[in-house]
C-alpha cells in the first residue's frame, strides 16, 4: 500500500505510447512498468547479473536454417483495455516500428525501437498464439534484441482514433502498472494492474508517481523536504546529508561503464598496446571513490567484474605505476619525451556521472606516466554527434579518444557494436575505426552460437580479448545509486538498467 513518489532524472515523462524514449530511465519507469516484451530480464535478484526470462512469449526456438524463430505466446494475457494479446497484435507492433507504410507506423516509437532489432527481416502470425520471426542472417542475439520491444494495444490505438498522440494520454499495455494520469513534463501516476498475468509481480503499492526532476539539487531538496520518496542518481555530495537524515542509499553493480573509447586510426598513439596498458595501469581507481561518494565499481575490464561474460582475462588493469612507467619506457616515452593525446569530453550528460572531475583525475593520473591529455570539451548532444561521426570525422578535430558511458547489457550493446568493423561510421558506432579479424571472428561466433551456455563462453572469450588487448581505457562502472526514504520497503535492486517496482510498499 501507499504512494511512492519518484524523482526521475529525465526532464520529461518518457514517451508513454509503448517504445519509450529518455534512454534507460524511460524503459525503467514507463517501459517495463506499463508494458511487457516477448522476452524480459529477470529483475528479481540483486545478487547475480540478470538473465533473460520468458515474458509475453513463453518459449522460443530457432529452426534448422538458423534464421526462422518461432515464439509461443502466453495465453490469457490481456491489455489494460481488456483486449487480448495475440500474435497478430505482436506483428502489428513490429509493423508500428519497421513498416513505414503501415497505418500504425509511429516515427517516434520507430526511432526508439527500430535500431534495436537490426536482425529482424520478417515476421508472421502463424496462429493466435504462435509467431515466427525471420532474421536476415543467423543471429543468436535475437532474444536480447527482442527484450527491447514493448507491446502496445492495437485495440486501444483504434479506440483512440488511430492517433498516437491520443494514445499517449491514455495508453494501454500488458504491464503490471497502468498509467492513470499524465501531465507532460510534470508527473505521471501509475496504478497497479490487478489482472497482471504474473501474480507475483502485481504491485503492492496503491500508486506510483513519477516526477521529472532533471536538476540533481532540486532532486535532493525534494527528497529532503519530503516531496518525493525516491530519487534517482543523487549527487554524490548530497549523499551525506541524506544518510544523515535517515535516507537510504540503494545501489548495485549493473551493466554500465565509464570509459575512454580510443581511436585506432593510423597515427593514433593508442595503437601501441604498451601505451594502452600503461594508461590503464596508471589510474588509481580506488582513490576516485571519495569523489563519487563511494558509488562506483572500479573497472577491471570493459564489463563489470560481476558480469556473467567477464571471463578470466590475463591482463589486470589495476593501478601499478611502476609497471606502467616501464611499459611507457619500453614504448619509447619518458619524462623528456612525453606523449600528448587529445580527448573529447563533455561537461555533463545522462549517465556520464561526474565527467569533469573524473576526467581531470584521469588527466592527472596519465600525466604520471608522461601522457599529457588535452581536453576538447563539447556539449553532451554535440558529443553524441561526434560519437556517431567516428574518429575520422573532421568535426572530431583529431581527438584520440572520446569519453563515453555505455549501456552494456546485452551482447550487441555490450560488445559487438563498439568494435565491429561493419559498424564503422556512418554504419554504426565503432568510433575508433577498430579492425581486427580475430575480433570479427569472435563476433561472428557469438551470432551463430545458439546454445546459451556456449554463447556465454564465446562472450567471455570476446571480453577477455577486450581486456587483454586493453582496447579501452577502463575506468569505472556506475552503481545506479538511488536515495530512498526509510519508508520505502521491499525494494530489491537488480543488477540491471531496469527495476521491478512491484515488490515495493510504503511503511506508514
Amino acid at each position: 500500500q501507499g504512494v511512492l513518489r519518484v524523482g526521475m532524472t529525465a526532464a520529461d515523462i518518457p514517451l508513454t505510447t509503448g517504445q519509450t524514449d529518455q534512454g534507460g530511465e524511460g524503459m525503467r519507469f514507463m517501459g517495463y512498468t506499463v508494458y511487457d516484451s516477448l522476452i524480459e530480464w529477470d529483475l528479481t535478484s540483486a545478487d547475480k547479473p540478470s538473465v533473460l526470462i520468458p515474458g509475453l512469449a513463453t518459449e522460443w526456438s530457432v529452426g534448422e536454417d538458423e534464421l526462422t524463430w518461432t515464439f509461443a505466446l502466453r495465453e490469457g494475457v490481456t491489455f489494460h483495455d481488456g483486449s487480448p494479446l495475440t500474435a497478430e497484435v505482436v506483428v502489428w507492433n513490429l509493423d508500428k516500428l519497421l513498416d513505414s507504410e503501415a497505418e500504425q507506423y509511429d516515427p517516434r516509437q520507430s526511432a526508439q525501437g527500430k535500431s534495436r532489432i537490426p536482425a529482424v527481416a520478417s515476421y508472421e502470425a502463424v496462429d493466435d498464439l504462435t509467431l515466427t520471426i525471420t532474421t536476415t542472417v543467423p543471429d543468436a542475439t535475437l532474444p536480447y534484441q527482442l527484450a527491447w520491444i514493448l507491446m502496445s494495444s492495437k485495440a486501444n490505438w483504434e479506440a483512440m482514433d488511430k492517433d498516437w498522440e491520443k494514445v499517449a494520454m491514455a495508453p494501454s499495455g500488458t504491464g503490471p502498472w497502468k498509467l492513470e494520469t499524465f501531465v507532460p513534463r510534470e508527473r505521471a501516476e501509475l496504478v497497479p494492474n490487478a489482472d497482471y498475468w504474473d501474480e507475483t509481480r502485481i504491485p503492492k503499492l496503491d500508486k506510483m508517481v513519477l516526477i521529472p526532476l532533471p536538476e540533481p539539487n532540486a532532486r535532493a531538496a525534494a527528497l529532503l523536504s519530503g516531496q518525493v520518496d525516491w530519487i534517482e542518481a543523487p549527487a554524490p555530495d548530497t549523499i551525506p546529508a541524506m544518510t544523515g537524515n535517515g535516507f537510504v542509499i540503494s545501489s548495485n553493480a549493473y551493466p554500465h561503464n565509464w570509459t575512454w573509447h580510443l581511436s585506432r586510426l593510423e597515427g593514433s598513439p593508442w595503437n601501441d598496446i604498451r601505451v594502452r596498458k600503461a594508461a590503464n595501469m596508471a589510474i588509481d581507481r580506488e582513490s576516485m571513490m571519495p569523489l563519487l561518494g563511494g558509488l562506483m565499481v572500479p573497472a577491471k575490464g570493459f564489463l563489470p567484474p560481476s558480469s556473467q561474460w567477464f571471463g578470466e582475462p590475463t591482463f589486470d588493469p589495476s593501478y601499478d605505476l611502476e609497471a606502467a612507467k616501464a611499459l611507457m619506457t619500453e614504448a619509447g616515452y619518458g619524462p623528456d619525451n612525453r606523449l600528448t593525446v587529445k580527448a573529447l569530453i563533455s561537461p555533463s550528460g545522462s549517465g556520464q556521472m561526474l565527467p569533469l572531475p573524473m576526467n581531470e583525475y584521469v588527466q592527472q593520473s596519465l600525466a604520471e606516466v608522461w601522457i599529457d591529455v588535452e581536453f576538447m570539451v563539447v556539449e553532451w548532444n554535440q558529443m553524441i554527434n561526434l560519437w556517431r561521426a567516428g574518429a575520422a570525422d573532421e568535426a572530431v578535430d583529431g581527438a584520440n579518444s572520446i569519453n563515453f558511458t555505455y549501456f552494456i547489457q546485452d551482447p550487441f550493446t555490450g560488445l559487438i557494436r563498439h568494435l565491429d568493423e561493419g559498424l564503422i561510421a556512418p554504419n554504426g558506432t565503432n568510433w575508433g575505426h577498430y579492425i581486427d579479424p580475430e575480433m570479427q571472428a569472435l563476433f561472428e561466433e557469438i551470432k551463430t552460437t545458439f546454445d546459451p551456455e556456449a554463447q556465454t563462453a564465446v562472450l567471455q572469450k570476446t571480453h577477455e580479448k577486450y581486456v587483454n588487448d586493453a582496447l579501452f581505457l577502463f575506468v569505472t562502472h556506475d552503481v545506479a545509486p538511488r536515495a530512498l526514504s526509510p519508508k520505502v520497503e521491499g525494494f530489491v535492486q537488480a543488477q540491471n538498467w531496469y527495476q521491478n517496482f512491484s515488490s515495493i510498499s510504503m511503511a506508514d
Partner: protein
C-alpha cells in the same frame, strides 16, 4: 558713463581657475565615500583578476581528489577547495576574470555600438531614425533575460556565444537611451547655434553632441553592468554560458550547488562574489549618476 558698462565687468565670484566638467565630476566622486569604497572594491577585483597570474595563487585548474571540499580556512587553502579539490581563492580570483569579462564586455561593446546607432538615429532623424528605432523596437519585444537565454540557448554554451548574446541584449536599451538623449540635445538651441555657423553634421556631432550625450549614456550603461554581470553568471549557472572547467562565478555557483549540504559557506562563496560585485557596480553607477548631475 561712456563705455564703462560695456567693458570688463566685475565678477561676483572669486577669480579662481575654472574647472572642467570632468574634473568637477571627479571632485564630487572623490568626496563620496560610499562610491569611492565601491570603486575601490571593483578596482581591486579587476586588478586582482587581471594580475591573477602574478599573485602567487594556486593553479585554479589543478585539483586533487584528496583535498576536495576543504572548509574555509583550511591550512594552505584560505578559502577552502571546491568539489575537485581546486583552491577556491585562486578560482574566485581567476573567476573574476571571466565573470567580469563577460559581465562587462557586452556593455562596453553595446555602449559603443548603441551610442553610434542611437546618436545617428537621434541626430539624423527622419527615415534613418525610423529604420534604426523600429528595428530596436523589435528587440525590445523580448524581455532581456529571455533574449539572452534564447540566443545563448540557440548558439550553445561558450564564452564567445555568451558575449554575442549579451551584447545583442544590451545594444537596444543603450541605443534607445542614446537616441532619446540625442534627439533631446538636438532640439537645444546650442545645436542650432552651432549649425548656424555653417558647420557640417559631423563637426556638430563631434564637438557639440557627443560631449553632451555621452555622459548620460555612459551613466545609463554603467547601470546595466550589474544586470549584465548577473545575467552572464546566470547563463553559466544555467549551463549555457561559460563551459567547465573554466573558473567563472556563475558556473562555480552551479557546480558547488550540491555541496551546500556539506559545506554551505563554501558553496555560498561564488554567490557572495556575484552579489558583492553587482552591489558595488550598482552603487558605483548611482554615485556616478549623482556626481555627473551638474544641477546639484
Amino acid at each position: 558713463m561712456a563705455l564703462a558698462d560695456t567693458t570688463t565687468l566685475p565678477t561676483p565670484e572669486k577669480v579662481e581657475k575654472s574647472k572642467g566638467y570632468w574634473s568637477g565630476v571627479g571632485h564630487r566622486l572623490v568626496r563620496d565615500p560610499l562610491t569611492m569604497f565601491c570603486l575601490a572594491v571593483v578596482a581591486a577585483l579587476i586588478l586582482s583578476a587581471a594580475f591573477a597570474p602574478y599573485l602567487g595563487l594556486a593553479d585554479p585548474y589543478k585539483g586533487s581528489m584528496i583535498a576536495r571540499l576543504k572548509p574555509i580556512g583550511a591550512p594552505g587553502y584560505p578559502l577552502g577547495t571546491d568539489e575537485q579539490g581546486r583552491d577556491m581563492l585562486a578560482r574566485l580570483i581567476y573567476g573574476g576574470r571571466l565573470t567580469l569579462f563577460i559581465g562587462l564586455m557586452p556593455v562596453v561593446i553595446a555602449f559603443f555600438a548603441g551610442s553610434i546607432l542611437g546618436i545617428t538615429a537621434g541626430y539624423v532623424g527622419g527615415l534613418t531614425n525610423t529604420i534604426i528605432m523600429r528595428t530596436i523596437d523589435v528587440f525590445f519585444a523580448f524581455p532581456s533575460v529571455l533574449l539572452a537565454i534564447a540566443i545563448s540557448g540557440a548558439l550553445g554554451a561558450g564564452i564567445t556565444n555568451s558575449l554575442v548574446s549579451l551584447t545583442i541584449v544590451f545594444i537596444p536599451p543603450i541605443t534607445r537611451v542614446a537616441e532619446a538623449v540625442t534627439s533631446g540635445v538636438r532640439k537645444l538651441d546650442y545645436i542650432d547655434a552651432a549649425r548656424a555657423t555653417g558647420a557640417n553634421a559631423w563637426t556638430v556631432i563631434r564637438v557639440h553632441v557627443i560631449g553632451n550625450v555621452l555622459s548620460p549614456i555612459f551613466v545609463y550603461a554603467t547601470s546595466l553592468t550589474s544586470v549584465c554581470m548577473i545575467l552572464a553568471a546566470g547563463l553559466s549557472f544555467l549551463g549555457i554560458g561559460v563551459r567547465p572547467p573554466e573558473p567563472e562565478w556563475g558556473l562555480m555557483l552551479n557546480t558547488l550547488r550540491s555541496v551546500i549540504y556539506i559545506n554551505p559557506w563554501l558553496s555560498a562563496l561564488p554567490g557572495v562574489m556575484i552579489f558583492v560585485t553587482s552591489l558595488c557596480l550598482n552603487l558605483l553607477s548611482d554615485g556616478l549618476r549623482s556626481a555627473m548631475n551638474v544641477r546639484d
